[in-house]
Subunit: 246 residues, 2 copies
DNA sequence: CGTCTTGATATGTCTGACATATAAGACTTG
DNA sequence: CAAGTCTTATATGTCAGACATATCAAGACG
């Protein structure tokens, strides 16, 4: 394994070291589950102290690129990035992006439903009995009397998650689930006071039936209605808020 | 500002501290551009040493959640996460995800074109002259004689980037551009030896014209052809490789 | 009044040390 | 001889104190 060990003394050492190692991982120079040199070794190679190397490694650990193990055979190992971990990151990132950039409700709703619609053609073709079962089971949960708002929202997310998984393409699932899991909670936060659970359950059922029938047109129609209903709720909430202000 | 300062001595301090601060940022307890306490302060609050706090801060810096400034009025400040930074992260993550998980070519192509198709309905409605100009200018660049393979690939990515931007929804652009910019280079890497530039330019032109005419059906058709051509190239490459092996 | 100097404060880095987890080999013992 | 125990080497995790350096603000000086 070769690493560029010359550092620009003007910039942060730990950042440059992290970048060097990151590049090596992306280029495939460091194989998955491969062990990096020990902190002491790296410090000697780069000509810096151990704390500086450690800061660099923590940067990589924060991105799930490496994991560390203590003990005699321990060290830092290149992580096999899995879809689940990557999705957590994406959800965190998307949530922050939305909350920090004053994205208006309509824009977020548009993006979310546009993306989710993407899975419908594939889902109608490929949905298996296990996907249908997941959808139905979430619908059943949503219909339970006395279900808390948190529980309903969680099931809502799980339903849409199951929907994108029905397309049976892990890469697509990753992208769409990241979008849905980031935005659905934000939308629920806004609309949960005004929405009718019965209405949402009806639309979820329509989606599940459409997938069951492999009826793409019906699925798209149901998604459109869900989109429209969400927008309607949003404007209702806004009206209510404005009235309270005046 | 309140932070949970009790740490579980069994787990990494720096990770717990990073998580605590991250949660505070996500919850909005720490406003954008707000300054965190100094490293010394944080060390005292959490009852750990300054290097440990620094490791925690580097973790957050690796996710672009904070930036640091030296000097008397310096410190760690909460970053306003912007779409550009977030996209870099997404592209890195998506690239690693694909290369580390043996995603087969067909799955990646399917996900990529499914996602990109998402922008077409909106793009046909909203595309402005500036979007059309960007598309045309990239097509012109691709037709230049003597353009390197790298140049062609870069322009290819820029074209698709312009396409998703034509939908004029920043959230959607972020998601789709992340997908396109991660996967297009990987596909180019596989197919560039076999593909016909003229063919690709023709399909790009068809897409641009369809957007110009606001003709969604034509745009979808062109995208389908691009999808099919990419798959065709992929199987051609595979056949060629298999023949060489035997 | 404007410029310069100086000091305070913050991050960036280094050194050396100790604590602790872990595996492998050495050792002891039934 | 075999099984369990102990020791040791090596790695990360953490700490303490120190120095270097960047930056701003306030006071000194022309």
């Amino acid at each position: 394994m070769k690493l560029k060990t010359d550092l620009d003394s003007a910039r942060d050492y730990s950042q440059q070291i992290a970048q060097t190692i990151r590049d090596a991982i992306i280029a495939g120079d460091l194989p998955v589950d491969g062990r990096l040199p020990s902190e002491g070794d790296l410090a000697a190679r780069f000509g810096v102290s151990r704390p500086t190397v450690r800061e660099a490694l923590k940067r990589l650990a924060a991105q799930n690129l490496i994991r560390t193990q203590r003990g005699a055979t321990g060290g830092a190992f290149v992580n096999r990035l899995n879809f689940e971990q990557a999705q957590e990151h994406m959800v965190t990132m998307a949530t922050l992006l939305l909350s920090m950039n004053r994205v208006d409700f309509e824009t977020a709703v548009e993006a979310r439903f546009s993306l989710e619609r993407t899975c419908l053609p594939l889902a109608c073709t490929r949905r298996g009995p296990e996907h249908l079962a997941r959808l139905r089971s979430e619908i059943a949960r949503q219909a339970i009397d006395g279900l808390t708002d948190e529980g309903f929202c969680a099931s809502d997310v799980a339903f849409h998650r199951a929907l994108v998984d029905a397309a049976d393409n892990p890469v697509l699932s990753w992208h769409l689930a990241g979008a849905v899991e980031a935005m659905q909670p934000l939308m629920n936060m806004i609309t949960y006071t005004a929405r009718s659970r019965a209405q949402i359950i009806a639309l979820h059922s329509a989606l599940a039936c459409a997938l069951d029938d492999r009826d793409l047109a019906a699925a798209n129609a149901a998604m459109d209605e869900l989109n429209a209903y969400t927008l309607e709720l949003g404007s209702e909430i806004r009206t209510r808020r404005d009235r309270n202000r005046s």
